[in-house]
Symmetry: C2
Subunit: 368 residues, 2 copies
C-alpha cells in the first residue's frame, strides 16, 4: 500500500465496524433495497474498509451507490435471472442490480457448480458496480476452493498507443486457501492504478507518480505531478517498452470474459455509452481443489510456498517481501479491533445523509 493512496492516520476518525455496517444497511434499505440484499451489500463495503482497501469502502462507493439509487441508474429490486446454464457454467442477467448485491449470489452458484463438476464459472451482464472484487473470490476459501472474480467497467483506460479510453480499469482478483496464516488474495486493476485511488489521491492532496496517466492527447506524463484536471489512465506497464501491452491485453481478457462472453457488450459501444443503466459486466469462478489434488497437500504446499516468499532476502532499502493478501489481513486484524479510520469529511457526509434520509446514525468510537 502506497501512503499517497491512504487517508493519513492523523486526519482520521476511527469508527466501529458493526455500527458502520448497521448504518450502511439502514441507508440501503431507505433507498429501496430489500433487507437481505442491504445486509449483503453493506458487508461487501465494510469488508473492504476492514481490509484497508479504502478506495473501495464506504468513503468512495456508498455515496455513489446512494446517488445511483436516487437517480434511477441502479435497480434496487433487480429481478436478476440465469439466462443460460450448463453443469459448469451460468450466465446471469443482473437487471441493473448492483454487483455488491448480485455478485455474492452469483459466486454461490459458481461454488455449487464446482462442488458438482469441479469448476463453476458465472458471467454476469447488465449489472452495477462490484465494489472490492476480492470479496467474491474470497467466498470460495471456506469451501476449499480457489476463487476468481473480475469486472469490466466503463471506458477510462487508453490502449497502448491510443489517445482515447477504450477499456475499464478491469480488475482481476484471485483467492486461494492455505492452512497457516492468511490466505493468498490478489486484487489488482489491470490499469496502472485503480480509478478510485486517483480520486482518493486528489482528495488527500497526493502527487501522482510518472507513468500513471496521459494528457488528453494520449501522451504519457512521465514525471511526478498533481493529478491533472483532465487525463486518461494508462494500462499496467505505462509504456510499450515497459509492458503496457500486457496490462492492455489483460484488460481485454477481462472485457472478453465479462462483457462479451456474458452478451453484455463492451465498454465503448454506443448503446452502452447512451444508457446509464446496467453498465457493468462481471465474471466469477470457483475451482474445487479436491477436483485436482488432495486438499491437505495443496494447503501444505501453499503454506511452505508463502513462507518461502516471505523469507526471500530483500533488496537494499526494503524490509520484507510481501505475499498478496498479507497487508490486507494485517489491516483487518487491526481494524476489526481498533476501528476503521474515516476522513472527517466522510464522517460529515454520514451525519448529513442519515439526517436527510432519517435513519439512525450508529457510527461509534465507543468501546474501541
Amino acid at each position: 500500500m502506497l501512503e499517497r493512496f491512504h487517508v493519513p492516520d492523523t486526519q482520521a476518525v476511527r469508527v466501529d465496524s458493526d455500527g458502520l455496517r448497521q448504518t450502511v444497511i439502514s441507508l440501503f434499505e431507505k433507498v429501496g433495497v430489500p433487507s437481505d440484499d442491504a445486509a449483503v451489500a453493506a458487508d461487501v463495503l465494510v469488508f473492504a474498509d476492514l481490509r484497508g482497501v479504502d478506495s473501495h469502502g464506504v468513503s468512495n462507493m456508498l455515496r455513489s451507490y446512494i446517488r445511483g439509487y436516487n437517480e434511477g441508474t441502479v435497480n434496487p429490486v433487480p429481478k436478476w435471472k440465469i439466462i443460460r446454464e450448463r453443469p459448469a457454467t451460468a450466465t446471469i442477467d443482473c437487471d441493473g442490480g448492483l454487483g455488491v448485491v448480485v455478485g455474492p449470489k452469483a459466486m454461490e452458484i459458481a461454488i455449487e457448480k464446482a462442488k458438482n463438476v469441479g469448476v463453476g464459472m458465472v458471467t454476469m451482464r447488465n449489472g452495477g458496480h462490484m465494489g472490492m472484487i476480492s470479496y467474491y473470490a474470497m467466498q470460495a476459501l471456506d469451501h476449499d476452493m480457489i476463487g476468481l472474480s473480475m469486472t469490466a467497467a466503463g471506458p477510462g483506460v487508453v490502449p497502448t498507443f491510443g489517445s482515447e479510453p477504450r477499456l475499464g480499469t478491469n480488475p482481476i482478483a484471485v483467492a486461494a486457501p492455505s492452512s497457516k496464516g492468511h490466505p493468498f488474495v490478489l486484487d489488482i486493476a489491470t490499469s496502472i492504478v485503480a480509478a478510485n485511488k486517483l480520486g482518493l489521491a486528489r482528495r488527500i492532496g497526493s502527487l501522482i507518480p510518472g507513468g500513471y496517466v496521459t494528457d488528453m492527447e494520449g501522451t504519457p506524463i512521465m514525471e511526478e505531478n498533481p493529478l491533472p484536471e483532465q487525463y486518461r489512465v494508462l494500462p499496467l506497464g505505462s509504456t510499450r517498452e515497459q509492458g503496457s501491452h500486457k496490462g492492455y491485453g489483460l484488460a481485454c481478457v477481462v472485457e472478453i470474459l465479462c462483457g462479451i462472453l456474458s452478451g453484455g457488450g463492451y465498454a465503448f459501444m454506443p448503446e452502452r455509452l447512451a444508457n446509464p443503466y446496467g453498465h457493468y459486466h462481471h465474471m466469477v469462478a470457483a475451482y474445487s481443489i479436491d477436483a485436482f489434488t488432495d486438499v491437505d497437500d495443496f494447503k501444505g504446499l501453499m503454506d511452505d510456498w508463502m513462507q518461502g516468499l516471505r523469507d526471500t532476502p530483500t533488496a537494499p532499502g526494503h524490509e520484507k517481501v510481501i505475499v498478496p493478501g498479507g497487508p490486507e489481513d494485517e489491516e483487518y486484524q487491526k481494524r476489526i479491533h481498533g476501528g476503521i479510520p474515516l476522513h472527517p469529511e466522510v464522517i460529515d457526509w454520514f451525519k448529513d445523509i442519515t439526517k436527510e434520509l432519517e435513519v439512525p446514525y450508529l457510527l461509534s468510537i465507543d468501546g474501541l
Copy 2:
C-alpha cells in the same frame, strides 16, 4: 514487437516452413520421440516461428530440447496419465514428457470436457517446456471456444522487494475467436520480459531497457544497458510504484494454478531444484462460448470491439493501436509464403546437428 528482440532481416536467411518442420520432426525422432509426438512437437515450434515469436521457435528451443533428450532430463516416451478427474477437470502427470508433446493432448481433453459441461480445465505436473503457450489456447478457436494456457517455470524472477528469484516468467495466454480477420490472441510473460527474449537480445547485441533486470543484490537497473553477465528478471511493472506487485501477483496465480493445484510443487522448492527432471507445471482450459451466450452474437461483438480498438485515435508519434494477436497474424501471412528468417548461426547449427544425427537436412529457400 520491439526490434531489439528480433533478428534483423538483413542478417537472416529465409527458410521454407514445410522443410523446417520435416527436419525438426526427423531430429525429434532421432532422439527417441515417437513419430506422432515428434510431428506435434515440431508443429508447436514451427508455428511459433511462423507467428514471428522467434524467442520460442526453433532457434532458442530446439537445441535446448535436443540437449534435454540427450542428457536424459526429458523423457522421450512419457507414460503420461490422468491421475484425478471430474466432469470439468483433470490432473495429468506428464512423466517428464515435454510440454510441446503432452500439452496439445491435454488441451484436447479440456475441449472435450468443455463440450460436455461448458468448461474444461486441465492441470499438468512433472512436465517439460511448453514452447509458445498460445499454441494451446489457440486450439480452442476452431471449436468456438475461448482457450487459456499458462505455465509455471523455474525460478528466475524476483518478487517485489526481493533479491533472489522465487518465480518463473510464468506466462499466460488467452485466445478468443472472431468472425472477421484474426482471432484475439494474447501471450505474455508475467515478468517484464520473457527470459528467451533476453537471450536473443544478447545474441544479436541489443541493449536492454531500464526496469527489466536487477543487479545481484536485487536493485532494479533503471538505465538502458547491455544485459549484465549476471542478473535477475523483474516482474511486469518493474518497481512497486509502477505496479510490480501486480506482475509478481499474477506470477503467483500462475504458480498456484499450475504448480500447486496440480500437486507438482513450486519453483523454488528444494526437491525441484535438486531434480532436473519434470521441472515444469502447466494449466490449460477451454470455455465453450455456447455455454454462456450465442456464438454468432459473441463473434459479432468481438468483430465490432476489435475494430473499435484498431480505430482508436493514436497518441502523438504512434501509427496505430494494435489488437493482441494482430502482429503475429500478419507475420504468419508473410512467413507462410515468404519463409521464416533464421540467423545464419542457427542455419549452421541445423547443418551440424543434422550431419551429427544423420538426418536429412531439408531447410530450403527454394520456391519462395
